[in-house]
């Protein structure tokens, strides 16, 4: 019989899990610092990590002012995308022929090069929030939809036969069996898609925006400030990691039974 472990123990095990990754990252940064110092390479070509960090602190106000719109675009776009993916996943689950009608279109949407599409969407919808939301949705909608549809398909057949024998309607079977069965798939999709979402938002801003990390990166690049470009990269990577962690935590809280499953099969 497994017990719910204390938060302290799970923190220690989390640290043990990310320890090796931390060591790798620290070694890479140290090697980069060493190379930048020893080789005497110009800071406008390859700034040392210490310089990137110093510049990040110095420009923190500008960075913060440009990060907020990116966060807003990411979260709004992702919320729209997940809602739409859920809606379509239910439609496709209930009306199977719809799947054949819609999926080819969605798959084609994933083949479009962002470099070409982003400027067009900005051209059509302006510099406001709308084109960013659309681009974030474009890159995250399909992965979320596929995750949900796969999750429904993974429902235990015995469970559905059981509900049918009890006289459950199709909708009830969906709510009681198919939807909960899809949760692990949904969260797996969520974790991946949230990282796409940040990249999508920055790309949309890069193609044209008044404010945002994307346009900040473009300006820094045009002003020959690779240190500020890298500072923005650091900010966006942090943002992605924070969102990823948030997704993991939501999964942890909303699926308490899965923690037990994992403990049973270490």
């Amino acid at each position: 019989m497994s017990e719910i472990s204390s938060p302290a123990r799970s923190f220690a095990s989390a640290l043990a899990k990310i320890g090796p990754a931390l060591i790798t990252i620290c070694s890479l940064v140290a090697a980069w610092e060493l190379y930048a110092q020893v080789s005497g390479i110009s800071a406008t070509t390859l700034p040392a990590p210490t310089r990137v960090f110093a510049q990040m602190v110095q420009h923190r106000d500008a960075l913060a002012a440009n990060t907020l719109p990116t966060i807003r675009a990411t979260l709004l776009g992702f919320a729209c995308s997940v809602s739409a993916a859920f809606l379509f996943s239910v439609l496709v689950d209930f009306f199977r022929p719809l799947r054949r009608a819609l999926f080819p279109v969605f798959i084609i949407s994933q083949t479009l090069p962002l470099v070409a599409i982003a400027p067009l969407i900005v051209l059509w919808f302006g510099f406001g929030l709308t084109p960013k939301i659309m681009l974030v949705a474009l890159v995250t909608f399909f992965p979320m939809l596929v995750a949900l549809v796969q999750g429904y398909a993974a429902t235990d057949e015995d469970l559905e036969a059981l509900l049918v024998s009890m006289g459950a309607s199709r909708w009830r079977t969906f709510l009681m069996a198919r939807l909960p069965s899809a949760l692990p798939y949904f969260f797996a999709g969520l974790r991946i898609a949230i990282t796409y979402a940040v990249v999508g938002a920055i790309f949309a801003e890069y193609a044209g925006a008044a404010k945002g990390l994307g346009i900040y990166i473009l300006n820094a690049k045009n002003n020959f400030r690779p240190d500020l470009v890298l500072a923005s990269v650091l900010v966006s990577a942090t943002l992605t990691l924070v969102l990823f962690t948030a997704a993991v935590m939501v999964q942890h809280v909303s699926m308490p039974w899965q923690r037990l499953d994992q403990r049973r099969r270490p």
Binding site: A161, L162, L163, S165, M166, G167, M176, Q258, D261
Partner: protein, 251 residues
């Protein structure tokens, strides 16, 4: 003898040209424990799928209490192979599943199933998740979920197939004692000869696919059956094995 609770007449079913059920006729009386014994893949589970309405038969008739079975009438409580407990529901909420589908609110359903937990040896495990329970306990929880629906008849589909031999023997004894007390009307599907002999009043032996009823035997052993080491029990078991292993020599 009282009237038949359940009667199947010449049930037929094929899936895309593959004949699964060729000719199944059987009866179950009220309070009787009847087993369907047959080789794996013979279509035993298909009979239950037809009864529970997830598969439509190609021919034949299903009578319950003398009337044809309709979709509205749901006289069966079904226990699928493996336990089919929902991993995301606590044991008590798995137990209430059937009542919830019937439209009982979760709160009312919980108060209704809670008193039965002790009888099923699950007292104190109401708030546990299925993953926290042993295989035997999970099967008891699945049976609890089945009987609380208060249907006229139980359909048990190889309920102990996934358990280890020792747990299985324990569960068979437990099920028998539960049946002695409640006298449910039970139709059990199994490929375990000993299990069928130990639990049943009557046994229908099926052929391999396409399934027909090969033999029907009455188990001449008095209840309660403590063990199967008696010569009578061994004789029944041996003759059943003989039929199953030599399907050409019809008795």
């Amino acid at each position: 003898m009282s009237g038949n609770r359940l009667e199947l007449r010449h049930l037929r079913k094929s899936f895309g040209g593959l004949d699964v059920l060729a000719d199944i006729s059987l009866t179950v009386q009220a309070g009787e424990f009847v087993s369907i014994l047959g080789p794996s893949g013979a279509g035993k589970s298909t009979i239950f799928k037809v009864l529970t309405g997830s598969v439509q038969p190609d021919g034949g008739a299903i009578m319950f209490d003398g009337d044809p079975l309709t979709k509205e009438k749901r006289p069966f409580a079904f226990m699928p192979q493996r336990d089919a407990l929902m991993p995301w529901r606590r044991i008590i909420d798995n137990a209430t599943l059937g009542l919830e589908v019937q439209g009982v609110t979760r709160k009312v359903a919980r108060t209704r199933v809670a008193p039965i937990f002790a009888e099923f040896g699950l007292e104190g495990f109401e708030r546990h998740y299925p993953a926290q329970l042993s295989g035997g306990m999970r099967q008891r929880a699945a049976l609890l979920r089945t009987v609380v629906q208060h249907r006229d008849m139980l359909l048990l589909d190889e309920p102990f197939g996934a358990l280890d031999a020792l747990t299985r023997a324990g569960m068979q004894r437990w099920l028998q004692s539960m049946w002695e007390r409640h006298r449910w009307t039970v139709l059990l599907v199994t490929h375990d000869v000993r299990e069928a002999v130990f639990l049943s009043d009557r046994i229908y032996v099926l052929t391999g696919r396409p399934a027909r009823v090969q033999t029907e035997i009455t188990v001449p052993l008095p209840h309660p059956r403590i063990d199967l080491a008696t010569p009578e029990a061994s004789a029944v078991e041996a003759s059943l094995l003989q039929i199953l292993l030599n399907p050409d020599q019809r008795s």
